[in-house]
């Protein structure tokens, strides 16, 4: 006794023995995969099915009820092997394409395939089947590849690489593809063997189709046959739509990214920066030359960085095109892109490490500068050289160009000038004003850092009670930009004050004060040094009147480290206390 199924072939219902059904189904599947990517595949398949139905009807001839495996073999002999179907259909063109190394997935060719092809593996998959497919392609256990890949993942670029391959490598989605992936010739014998090996996916697929065939007792219209089969077609149509939407967004993202990157490169030719005579211009590479050891190194680094960003963008674009049009790029494109990207990564890491190494040590030197004591209680602080608004670097993107606005950077033939000097105000240890300057820099060794620090130049000018500081940090061009920094430190004795003129807003950097006022808000006020820190609510003379009584009241005459003590309650006292002496001093006048 043999089990039979009911199959609807081209609108006619046949009873068919199970083994006959399996063979016929595999036969149709392998023909279908021969026509992968061929226009009108569904129509051709419908015609073929129609002819097969005719042949069955002829064979059965009304005497028998059930299609047997002999009938199926007869049909296959009459219709020909899957390879025969494409004999006349563009076989020549396809062959040529293949010889040119095109990855025309599932492209049907007569004769044995040239060799293995790189497909994503449909079954041996952890994420997208890329490594499973690569394993089949290279004939290596995918587990080894996955372990190697984990290392790449930890190096940080494995992820991007995987995505690119995922997009570019087609999935082996037919029996013929899987055979090509393994490098075996595509013929019915091999496909049959693949089934008997118990390839689960296909068995399941066959079962699904069998169930479907039983359910679909009704006659399919031509249109229904052309568009698909029930649930399976619904799912694939849905995936198709999702694919297209993804594709369009990939296309857009890729195009925008490429535009921005190319814009940056074109705009890179016009970095504007402050000059003593006005705005100057320098190329991206010229700027690079003051950071990198040579302009050649700068060029390599910038090129590498641009490629690092550009190649994934191109990958997005290609992936988008592929998802939208099903057109597959020639195989050399993804390979070239991946290899170039790896090389760019390597170059940028090497150069970056070299330059970064030159920042590894930081040293600074501090020494005191001579200033005359001011005539009154207050020292006035201001900006000396207004040219250069200082460190206000911006990158603007407009109309396809990127403008690197680097105010406060000036490059001459032998020197670099950066308007980023800082000013700090701290308590003095004794009863007079002091001015210190701290010069810092980075270098490969402590010695080099210290040498660079001592090469830096700065400017300050005193006229009576007015002390003016230049924001410009001067350094020799040969030293390169290595985070050279000048910090002016004004030390104010207890009971004396500094007035911060408008220009100092640029210089002030994190100046401590009792009210935690931000640097920019400290400008334009007079700050008196109290034992708790700078305070703009008291006058110098008040400090002298106030300090002694308060200490006596609290009975803490030994509490002399007051200026640095951050005590909120003490701050409150000073503020409250300051109001009364203020009034009193007014009354006294």
């Amino acid at each position: 006794m043999k089990k039979t199924l009911t199959a609807n072939i081209s609108g006619t219902v046949y009873h068919i023995e199970e083994d006959a059904y399996d063979r016929l189904h595999r036969y149709l599947e392998s023909i279908r995969s021969q026509f992968n990517g061929t226009e009108g595949r569904e129509e051709i398949m419908a015609d073929i099915e129609s002819r097969i139905a005719e042949l069955f009807t002829e064979r059965l001839d009304g005497r028998r009820q059930v299609v047997s495996i002999d009938d199926v073999d007869h049909v296959i002999r009459t219709m020909g092997q899957p390879e025969d179907y494409v004999m006349g259909d563009g076989a020549g063109e396809r062959q040529q394409q293949q010889e040119q190394g095109s990855t025309h997935a599932g492209s049907a060719t007569s004769g044995p395939p040239a060799g293995r092809r790189f497909y994503r593996h449909p079954e041996d998959t952890w994420v997208g089947g890329v490594l499973g497919g690569l394993g089949a392609y290279l004939n290596i256990d995918p587990l080894i590849l996955r372990l190697v890949y984990l290392i790449f993942l930890f190096l940080g670029f494995g992820f991007v690489l995987y995505i690119i391959l995922w997009i570019l490598v087609p999935k082996a989605d037919s029996a013929a593809d899987i055979l090509r992936m393994r490098g075996e010739p595509v013929n019915v014998e091999n496909i049959k063997r693949m089934f008997s090996e118990g390839s689960e996916r296909f068995q399941q697929g066959a079962r699904n189709v069998a169930n479907e065939a039983e359910e679909l007792g009704r006659r399919w219209s031509q249109r229904e046959r052309a568009t698909g089969r029930g649930l399976e077609a619904g799912v694939s149509r849905f995936l198709n739509v999702v694919g297209r939407i993804l594709g369009v967004s990939f296309l857009l993202a890729g195009a925008v990214l490429i535009l921005i990157i190319l814009g940056a490169l074109v705009g890179g030719g016009s970095i504007t920066y402050d000059n003593l005579t006005g705005l100057g211009e320098a190329g991206l590479f010229e700027l690079g030359a003051v950071v990198f050891d040579s302009s050649a190194q700068a060029m390599w680094f910038i090129t590498s960085i641009v490629l690092l960003a550009l190649i994934p963008a191109i990958g997005l674009l290609i992936g988008g095109v592929r998802l939208v049009t099903d057109a597959r790029p020639p195989r050399w494109i993804p390979w070239t892109l991946s290899i170039t990207w790896m090389m760019a990564l390597f170059a940028s890491i090497v150069i970056g490490a070299r330059v970064g190494n030159d920042f590894s040590e930081e040293r600074s030197t501090e020494h005191e500068l001579v200033i005359d004591p001011p005539a009154g209680q207050t020292l006035y602080l201001d900006l000396h050289d207004m040219r250069g608004t200082g460190g206000n670097w911006e990158v603007n993107y407009s109309r396809g160009r990127v403008d690197w606005d680097m105010e406060g950077l000036r490059i001459t033939n032998d020197s670099i000038h950066g308007a980023w000097a800082r000013l700090d105000v701290v308590p003095s240890a004794d009863s007079v004003f002091h001015l210190h300057v701290k010069r810092g820099a980075h270098g490969r060794t402590e010695k080099m850092a210290l040498a660079r620090a001592s090469h830096t130049g700065f400017t300050y000018v005193q006229s009576d009670s007015l002390l003016r500081f230049s924001p410009w940090v001067d350094m020799p061009r040969n030293d390169k930009l290595r985070a050279q920094m000048i910090t002016f430190v004004v030390k104010v004795p207890l009971g004396r004050a500094v007035h911060l003129n408008g220009g100092t807003g640029l210089l002030l950097h994190d100046v401590d004060n009792v009210s935690n006022t931000l640097d920019e808000d400290m400008v334009g006020r007079t700050w008196t040094m109290t034992r708790y820190g700078l305070n703009d609510q008291v006058r110098p003379e008040d400090v002298r009147d106030e300090v002694v009584p308060m200490e006596q009241q609290q009975g803490t005459p030994n509490d002399t480290n007051g200026p640095n003590r951050p005590a909120p309650s003490a701050q409150l006292e000073v503020r409250n206390g300051s109001m009364l002496p203020d009034l009193l001093s007014m009354l006294r006048r």
Binding site: S10, G11, T12, I31, F35, T38, E39, G40, E43, I44, D47, I48, S50, R51, A53, E54, F56, T57, E58, R77, T78, M79, G80, Q81, P82, D84, Y85, V86, M87, G88, D89, G90, A91, G92, Q95, S110, G111
Partner: protein, 110 residues
């Protein structure tokens, strides 16, 4: 360059020409065409024909109509379109020229 590929390409061109010629004699359905081609030993298996018919139809050289069949599914009856007829006339001419040229050349070589 392999001989199978060259043979396939040669046969492909000739097959298309022959299909058009067969259909020039009247409306036929695929089995009729197949038996004629088999008679002439141009094809061995039937599968070859179907993609070719679809291609010629998509190119606008052929058109078809459905006809119910007593036994089995409805049949597609193919016939030439006007473009197909013009196409065939040109092919006839080309074939004459070609076969003369081939005959001449191969005879000289022999």
């Amino acid at each position: 360059m392999n001989v199978e590929n060259t043979k396939a390409q040669m046969r492909k061109g000739v097959l298309e020409y022959c299909i058009l010629s067969i259909l020039a004699q009247g409306e036929l359905y695929p089995s009729d065409i197949i038996s004629k081609l088999k008679e002439a030993r141009l094809i061995v298996v039937e599968g070859t024909l179907y993609p070719l018919l679809t291609r010629l139809k998509d190119a606008g050289l052929l058109t078809y109509r459905w006809e119910e069949s007593r036994s089995g599914p409805p049949r597609k009856y193919y016939k030439l379109t006007t473009i197909g007829e013009q196409f065939l006339t040109e092919l006839d001419q080309t074939w004459d020229e070609l076969s003369q040229a081939v005959n001449k050349t191969t005879r000289k070589n022999a």
